[in-house]
């Protein structure tokens, strides 16, 4: 096993119409790291995640997961090692019931029925959704769907958990629960999000993408307080790091908005 579990080297990807989506992205991520992937709309976050999972393949450069480059031939191995949670749980929960959906991955791995059952139970318990197992996905709330979508990926026992906007459309309580779960996972985690407070809570490291390039890569505490960088990349400090508008220390808020 290589030292870096996810490595991206000079990755370029052009959309079919020739527009560059990723333009020479390079970074590497170690075992057990939790990395926030942030950037403006269209910065290339989702495209990068799809590259890591091999849904899209690079125009040039490469992504590596574990010891393997992500290519058409290595996809089965790559997808066993790296689990991608999609932004819209409705895209991901396509099976008739929650248990069928969580069992989908393990079944495709060719596990025996008893093994599949163990994986299903463990994954659902991990996200506190054991009571939902007989339910059809269309009868779940947004937060429940998200939990089950994560369980469906966890059931494949990936080394790397990759999530696209995991906190979108969640109410505050469901979001808080998600953050607690993400913090508890021992997997290597890559979280693409606009929820910078979530990054602050979950990720020790943050990569900022801007126009398909890495604009910054470093400890979250440093990256998310670099106001000039954030403004350049159409971002702002996490709300928790902004001044309080009620007790008079609201300068920070105005500063960022003025840019």
């Amino acid at each position: 096993m290589s030292h870096h579990i996810v490595a991206v080297e000079d990755l370029r990807y052009l959309y079919p119409d020739g527009t560059p989506a990723l333009d020479g992205v390079t970074f590497s991520i170690h075992h057990g790291e939790a990395v926030g992937l942030v950037g403006a709309n269209g910065a290339g976050k989702s495209t990068l995640l799809l590259q890591l999972a091999g849904v899209l393949l690079p125009t040039s450069g490469q992504a590596r997961v574990g010891d393997l480059p992500v290519t058409a031939k290595t996809l089965p191995h790559v997808r066993r090692a790296l689990g991608l949670v999609f932004q819209d749980p409705d895209d991901q929960l396509f099976m008739p019931t929650v248990e069928d959906d969580v069992a989908f991955g393990p079944s495709n791995l060719g596990l025996a029925p008893e093994e599949i059952e163990k994986h299903v139970v463990a994954a659902l318990e991990r996200v506190g959704a054991a009571h939902l197992r007989k339910r059809p996905p269309h009868r779940l709330s947004g937060g429940e769907k998200r939990g089950v979508a994560i369980a469906a990926v966890l059931a494949m026992s990936p080394d790397v958990l990759v999530m696209d906007e995991p906190s979108s459309n969640l109410d505050p309580a469901a979001r808080r629960l998600l953050i607690a779960q993400l913090r508890a996972f021992e997997h290597t985690r890559i979280v693409a999000t606009h929820d910078l407070d979530l990054v602050l809570d979950v990720c020790g490291r943050t990569i900022v993408l801007a126009q398909g390039k890495v604009a910054a890569d470093g400890p979250t505490a440093e990256v998310l307080t670099d106001d000039a960088l954030l403004a350049r990349c159409r971002l702002e400090r996490p709300l928790r790091l902004q001044g309080c508008p009620r007790c008079g220390e609201g300068e920070q808020v105005r500063d960022v908005r003025a840019t």
């Binding site: 409705d90 895209d91 099976m95 008739p96 269309h138």
Partner: protein, 270 residues
């Protein structure tokens, strides 16, 4: 939009109904699927004027409704909504065939009228059989049962995905129509041209969604087979249900039960 929402809600209610626990829902889905097919086939096998011979077959839906604790009202509403189709099929029968075919006391019923009533009865019986199947068995169980009975896997996957995304698609269609209505207060209903564009929009969105779903499936190792695990096996209840159904269908097909009953009654009283 109200109609799309109502249709979605109706589908949701049927789905919830099917997921309740009852003696009928505990039967093996394959038993119910086969019984439904057999029932519909026997109903369809009767002749053009066999109205009275169909009467004993009403026992099947009545018994299944009782076993499944299925409320009568929604069932009757669905039957009533669909019955104009049957009436349409046989609408001209009473005009084309006026020869007297049956006398009920002093009332003489023409062949055409009898044929119309027979078509209606067949339609109502078959439809209630099918509705009771989906009211006592979740649709995914029906699909898996069909698969276990030999329906090609690709078709089963198609059915399962269609049912799963019917709800999502209905929500999306509802949102599109609502967005249109809110920006067109004078004429909230889309015109034919606007409707066509909305449908086109829905199609484009569906294609996008289909691509994302396919990507999600491949990310979890999908290689062409759609694994749905069900390990139900028929029990004593299934045996009893099958025996009773077969008995009813065979007797109703083999003998003219209403005539026998009538003769027996006259035998007693006359």
């Amino acid at each position: 939009m109200a109609r799309i929402e109502a249709a979605r809600a109706g589908l949701g209610r049927l789905d919830a109904l099917a997921r309740r626990d009852s003696p009928a829902s505990r039967l093996d889905p394959r038993t119910k699927v086969l019984a439904t097919f057999a029932f519909v086939a026997v109903v369809a096998s009767f002749g053009r004027l066999d109205l009275l011979r169909l009467a004993p077959l009403a026992l099947y839906p009545l018994a299944l409704a009782a076993l499944g604790d299925v409320p009568a009202r929604p069932l009757l509403v669905r039957l009533a909504l669909a019955s104009p189709f049957a009436l349409g099929v046989a609408a001209f029968e009473p005009i084309l065939d006026r020869a007297p075919a049956m006398a009920l006391g002093s009332v003489v019923v023409s062949g055409g009228a009898l044929a119309l009533l027979t078509v209606l009865a067949k339609f109502l019986l078959s439809l209630s059989g099918a509705l009771l199947l989906v009211s006592t068995t979740p649709f995914d169980e029906v699909c898996v049962a069909l698969g276990r009975l030999g329906l090609p896997r690709a078709l089963v996957s198609q059915l399962l995905l269609t049912y799963r995304y019917l709800f999502v698609l209905a929500e999306e269609a509802g949102r599109l129509v609502r967005a249109h209505a809110l920006r067109s207060p004078e004429r909230p209903r889309p015109s034919a041209g606007e409707g066509a564009r909305l449908v086109g929009n829905l199609l484009v969105r569906s294609i996008g969604r289909a691509e994302r779903i396919h990507a999600a499936m491949r990310c979890r190792g999908f290689e062409g087979t759609f694994p749905v695990r069900r390990s139900t096996s028929p029990g004593a209840g299934d045996l009893a249900f099958v025996a009773a159904t077969v008995l009813l269908l065979v007797c109703a097909r083999r003998w003219d039960l209403p005539a026998l009953a009538g003769r027996a009654l006259f035998g007693v009283f006359g």
